[in-house]
């Protein structure tokens, strides 16, 4: 889920984003079209394989989920928050989500791609969030959605009780 930029050129730009490094140089979008352009650049550049959505200029999703700069959630089938990750980047921990899902559905059967290039074959399955069928994983961020590494359970996660295969 794309939300307002964290380190745009006209605000707090990071050295790692400069053209001679990661080359991620965008000003803070002022219009939805600008957000769309950045989001599309991201999904194309990284061949992002997951469903993707964009918070509109009202920042409704960002405000509702205190999402900025990056954060993870799991919503369970009953529509309740089942996992609430910490505020990124320091408390952004995809491994906790992976652990929650593994406890719920069993061990992960394949490793997550370590680089964007490795994820390329999956890019053909990429879809807009709005057009895609519901999947267990939703949209975006440059960080990997799932990192293969066991991590202690989050204090804020509710232990799953049902185990079933994905």
């Amino acid at each position: 889920m794309y939300v307002r930029e964290a380190h745009p050129t006209d605000e707090w730009q990071m050295k790692s984003n400069l053209k001679d490094k990661d080359d991620v140089c965008y000003a803070q979008p002022k219009t939805l079209e600008q957000r769309l352009a950045i989001a599309n650049d991201f999904t194309k550049r990284f061949k992002f394989p997951l469903p993707f959505g964009i918070d509109d200029m009202s920042n409704a999703a960002n405000d509702a989920y205190a999402a900025w700069p990056e954060r993870l959630y799991i919503i369970d089938e009953s529509g309740h928050i089942a996992y609430r990750g910490g505020m990124g980047p320091f408390n952004y921990n995809p491994a906790e989500v992976r652990e929650w899902l593994a406890a719920r559905y069993g061990a992960v059967k394949h490793e997550a791609p370590k680089t964007p290039a490795e994820a390329a074959p999956a890019a053909t399955k990429s879809a807009d969030f709005g057009a895609a069928a519901p999947t267990p994983a939703a949209p975006s961020t440059p960080a990997p959605a799932a990192t293969p590494a066991p991590v202690p359970a989050s204090k804020e996660s509710r232990p799953p009780t049902v185990r079933e295969e994905l």
Partner: protein
């Protein structure tokens, strides 16, 4: 200015410099410390959601820029993982 106020303002100044130095060290440089205070802190919120809270709904735009949908439309069958972030 009496002695008390001299000491008070001196200590306050030293604390201010120490806080900025610590922030600069944590952020990477004085420029980054300024960026953090000026641009990041106003947007960082812990939020009120807790595990067990009703998941809020919000209208989301699809990548095509035309389609719209609501987060809660995507819940119900299976758990939904929301990954919030940006490019930079």
């Amino acid at each position: 200015m009496n002695r008390f106020w001299k000491w008070t303002s001196g200590i306050f100044g030293v604390l201010l410099v120490a806080a900025f130095a610590g922030l600069s060290y944590m952020a990477g440089s004085p420029k980054d410390a300024y960026g953090m205070v000026r641009y990041a802190l106003p947007h960082m919120h812990r939020g009120t959601l807790k595990v067990g809270s009703d998941a809020p709904d919000a209208r989301i735009v699809a990548l095509d820029g035309v389609s719209r949908f609501h987060i809660r439309e995507r819940t119900g069958n299976r758990p939904l993982v929301l990954i919030f972030g940006s490019f930079t």
